[in-house]
């Protein structure tokens, strides 16, 4: 896929939206205006956006507890997301899901997931649908380094390879699973190595670099659409914040995060490269920053003003029938 100026600006807008959306959330939670378990994606924006830049309406994404970025990248509207996190009736899940279950079937977003590893087979199933119904679509699972230690990872990748499914498995290796460093629980240095267990195609991308993710994901998705089977794509990235909003980060050396933030922030790197190469103007990006900020302010205001769910709604949406 060609990276036109339009596409680049859209990618930047999505990355900026993710970053600003979550800065807003953090503020709101710390101010006591928002409840729930929130896991921030900040730092990893290039992964979701670099992958989803290749996806369209026929494609499905399954996500994790750290799902805001995948939602925004896949095109879920921030107004509905914000209302959801506020627990409003106007939320994209009517206030029933919250951050860990934010989803939008209309946008091909199969949900954040509170169960580490559980999105992997869901995306595999979406790929099976795509293959059998010949939709031309792909199923994409985003998941963490920690999730690659789950049985669901192993079983799903094996099945996908057996069936040569149009699937993409994006492992976001951000160096940590909760309070535990990845190397403490994953004895291989590259999780991409694990693809060999299934004779699966694999690739490694710099997850802090939109362009690298975009390229590697593009190749993998093309492969998948061609019918050449799934890929395990490892994106080396970093979780800027704590595991969840409120995490004291006592377990992580401060300098580690600082180094990543200062040298490898995906938004800054995107800007540097894109502007230097003359692909976009810094002014365009500043304009987008302003638009995003305004959009988010509006989303917060709308969510705060939106009606709460009706108490009786606790009983609805359990079954389609009966």
């Amino acid at each position: 896929m060609q990276l036109t100026r339009e596409r680049l600006l859209d990618a930047y807008r999505k990355m900026r939206t993710i970053r600003s959306f979550e800065e807003k959330l953090q503020e709101l939670v710390l101010a006591g205006k928002m409840a729930g378990f929130l896991h921030l994606y900040a730092g990893e924006e290039a992964v979701a956006v670099g992958v989803c830049a290749h996806l369209g309406a026929r494609d499905w994404v399954a996500s994790t507890h750290r799902g805001h970025g995948h939602c925004i990248a896949k095109g879920v509207g921030v107004a509905g997301m914000m209302a959801e996190l506020f627990g409003r009736r106007t939320g994209v899940c009517k206030g029933k899901g919250g951050s860990m279950h934010i989803a939008d079937m209309d946008a091909g977003m199969l949900g954040a997931n509170g169960i580490v590893g559980a999105g992997i087979p869901l995306a595999t199933g979406a790929a099976l649908t795509a293959k059998l119904k010949k939709t031309g679509g792909v199923g994409v699972a985003f998941f963490g380094d920690g999730a690659s230690n789950q049985g669901q990872f192993h079983e799903s990748l094996n099945m996908a390879q057996n069936w040569k499914l149009p699937a993409l498995y994006v492992v976001e290796n951000n160096g940590w699973g909760e309070f535990t460093p990845t190397e403490f629980v994953v004895p291989v240095s590259d999780i991409a190595e694990r693809a060999r267990s299934y004779a699966m195609h694999a690739a490694i991308a710099d997850g802090m670099d939109f362009f690298d993710v975009f390229e590697k994901a593009g190749e993998a998705i093309e492969r998948a659409r061609r019918g050449d089977g799934p890929t395990l794509l490892e994106c080396k990235t970093y979780r800027f914040s704590g595991h969840y909003v409120g995490d004291t980060l006592a377990y992580r050396p401060k300098e580690e995060a600082e180094a990543w933030k200062q040298r490898r922030d995906p938004l800054e790197r995107f800007e540097r490269r894109a502007v230097e190469a003359g692909l976009v103007d810094a002014d365009d990006l500043r304009a987008i920053d302003g638009e995003v900020a305004a959009q988010l302010d509006a989303a917060v205001r709308a969510a705060e003003a939106a009606p709460l769910p009706d108490v009786a709604d606790v009983l609805t949406d359990v079954y389609v029938s009966g």
Partner: protein, 334 residues
């Protein structure tokens, strides 16, 4: 015109009808086709470890999918496929294996719709074999339908005979919610009349399979036959038992249970499973709640004991509920 088929054959027929009438229906599971060997000369497909799906891969070669021994992957994939446009029928060879694949049912299939504010549907059917009696011991003989029946967002059905199996399975597959379809070992080999053609039975409705006014015997799956045998024995003493076949464990047909209790005032529920946290307790609890005014006697639960399923024939036979135990329970309750 009805014909005599085994429950396994009736299930096979239902699967064929479902696949014929809807191209989105697929089957997946371990050896549901019978392996890649099906293309080798001089070999034949198996159609599952009990032969239930035999012949289907030949009719629907792209829609009958053998899987690795990866139950979590099978069910998780089936949930994802169901949510995105297919109508999968996944086989979980024995319900005991829920231990290795509960999450796709518990936390995914059952909850997606609710968590997503009503936007998702998961038209998944999980066929699974349950029950004791085959000397298969502790890990291949459980009746764990209580685990799925207890999970909001799932439905659980269990036929007691071939004709019901066909109608309930067709209903389960066409239902837009996830349904666990339990094939009791005691029922699978049973033979009986099965109507031809395409028909469904409503999920959530019990059926009076024998009318009587003195006591209600509630059974389901393999225990319907036990209850019927007990009713025969009781009739010889002049006690007329009404036998209710639940057919559906979730939703539970409360009206049917209460209706029969109102008539008889006495109720025994017969359940192959162990006693704690099960269907038998739910039925009894319903009686003492909404049916309190009808009750003329204690509600008895005839279940297996609170133990794993033993191997030796003499022990396994003692483990299982039988007509004698039901008769004794009725007599004891005075």
């Amino acid at each position: 015109m009805p014909r005599i088929l085994s429950t396994g054959q009736a299930i096979n027929e239902a699967l064929a009808i479902a696949m014929e009438s809807d191209p989105d229906v697929i089957l997946l599971g371990e050896d549901v086709a019978g392996g890649g060997a099906r293309e080798a000369e001089g070999t034949d497909e198996m159609g599952g470890v009990l032969g239930t799906t035999k012949g289907l891969v030949k009719r629907f070669p792209e829609r009958v999918l053998d899987t690795p021994i990866s139950e979590m992957g099978i069910l998780g994939t089936a949930v994802g496929a169901a949510a995105t446009g297919l109508r999968p029928v996944a086989e979980l060879m024995f319900i005991d294996f829920l231990g290795v694949c509960l999450d796709p049912l518990l936390n995914q299939a059952a909850k997606l719709r609710y968590m997503f504010g009503g936007k998702a549907r998961v038209p998944l059917t999980v066929r699974t074999v349950c029950g004791a009696g085959m000397r298969a011991a502790a890990q291949h003989s459980q009746s764990l339908y209580w685990m799925t029946a207890g999970i909001p967002g799932l439905k659980t059905v269990i036929p007691s005979n071939p004709a019901d199996a066909k109608g309930l399975l067709l209903a389960a597959i066409r239902d837009d919610d996830p349904v666990v379809f339990c094939e009791a070992k005691g029922v699978l080999m049973q033979r009986g009349d099965v109507p031809e053609g395409d028909y469904t039975l409503p999920i959530g409705q019990a059926k009076v399979v024998r009318a009587g006014g003195d006591v209600t015997l509630v059974g389901f799956g393999a225990t319907v036959a036990v209850a019927l045998a007990a009713a025969d024995a009781l009739a010889q003493d002049g006690t007329q038992a009404e036998v209710l076949d639940l057919r559906s464990l979730a939703p539970l047909d409360e009206a049917a249970i209460l209706g029969s209790l109102e008539k008889t005032g006495r109720l025994v529920v017969v359940d192959e499973s162990t006693p704690r946290c099960g269907i038998a307790s739910d039925v009894a609890a319903l009686c003492v709640d909404k049916g309190f005014d009808f009750l003329n006697a204690p509600v008895r639960r005839v279940t297996a004991p609170h133990t794993p399923v033993p191997f030796a024939a003499i022990l396994e036979d003692a483990f299982r509920p039988d007509a004698a135990k039901v008769v004794a329970a009725v007599r004891e309750m005075g």
